[in-house]
Homo-oligomer: 248 residues x 2
Amino acid sequence: MDNDQDDPAAATDYQPLYAQVKALITRRIATGDWKPGDMIPNEFQLANEYNVSQGTVRKALIAIEAERLIVRRQGRGTYVARHTREHALFHFFRMVDINEQRPVPTSQALSQNIVNASQELAKQLEVEPGTPLYHITRNRSLKASPAIYERIYTPVQMMPDLQIEIGKQMVDEMYVIYQERYGITIAHASERVAAIAASAEDARQLKIAKATPLLEITRIARDVSKVAVELRISRCRSDEFRYAAELN
Amino acid sequence: MDNDQDDPAAATDYQPLYAQVKALITRRIATGDWKPGDMIPNEFQLANEYNVSQGTVRKALIAIEAERLIVRRQGRGTYVARHTREHALFHFFRMVDINEQRPVPTSQALSQNIVNASQELAKQLEVEPGTPLYHITRNRSLKASPAIYERIYTPVQMMPDLQIEIGKQMVDEMYVIYQERYGITIAHASERVAAIAASAEDARQLKIAKATPLLEITRIARDVSKVAVELRISRCRSDEFRYAAELN
DNA sequence: GAGTGGTCTAGACCACGGT
DNA sequence: CCGTGGTCTAGACCACTCG
């Protein structure tokens, strides 16, 4: 009682109670114990389960909500966040047109095959070189004209039997598929934007002149546990569209 | 009881106590009542002043801290945030090199004059067309080679007698100057990134071939009250550098 | 009306930073 | 040692949603 430091780890491992509760709840969501769309127990039930006060649970829940893992609604309850198409687009699709409107993209898959991870791909996706990866290419149109040519890589092991219909409009965003089919929630992404000259392939796909300047957006998407799930390289027309970022 | 909507204002004007306290404290910072670097009264003093409990003040302070307007330090006190060069760069300079290192830019002003806002500039800076603006051009080097050519516009009225030394290394970031000389704290910025082909001017400034693809970053920077303070158009080499964004 | 999250208060104790 | 912010608890009351 008078000395909690007899465990030397305590000094470095110390986490406030609410942070511990937050970690416990987060784990139950990450493991699929509570699934997207589920309502989780109320604050008093959780407080009782973890033997803390309701205020401590509340602080944990507010922190989890800030990470968009849960949605809390007064009078209703607390729910595990679900990736809707709107949500996926709102959080992860950053292109705006020159009038500051957010266009809604339509997507059409062009090809799907399996490749073994090169050194470069392996490094980015944090897997061993040679790991089998799906390689999907697709076209995305903004305002009814082709604007983005995209290559997507994701480990086969994470998404057994992933099948994308080729040549048809995709109904769901990839992240909705990951969540609904495999229980993988994309929670974070890191993007790097470069300016490049359109290759012959880009020019053909986007119906533009070769060497037109394009935005190349390289994105690593990670799940709730920060595990890399997808590498996506998007080449975007930049004549009518811009990549948008807000710094706060 | 059955109808709280008889006063239409009540529905829209209602703010929780902590939000009102937050607004009051924020205003005192925005007006310069408390200046960057100042220590503000402790939670109990504020609670007493505003006739609320210390817990309510705390919630307001946590919210203000989340907006990076204040810094709270255990055992020390709560301080109004100050723009250091490190802070300005960390929050507003988003370029990384191809090895994911953040290069530290050096800047050299090329010119400073006054222009009257065109329709386009006026719209972006939210001022009347014709409003006098400073127009500053500068070169920025990353890792000792010229990498960014930048045009900066800011209303003369906001920064009377702004003088930038031409042709010399700039010691301070622009945002440090705005804060220290004029008490204007840049708190938000909105960026739009495009890919463009280098103009003859860009090519000369950046010592690259004409028509090389460049990143063009257009930024509107705003103060604590969301008033537009600066428009900045940066053209960046994209061969060794990338624009970085994290989506959470 | 019952149940949920949201706000607010009050007070205890801890951890940190300086005197 | 004192004063600061940080954590935690306990309980009251409010606002929203739904049956």
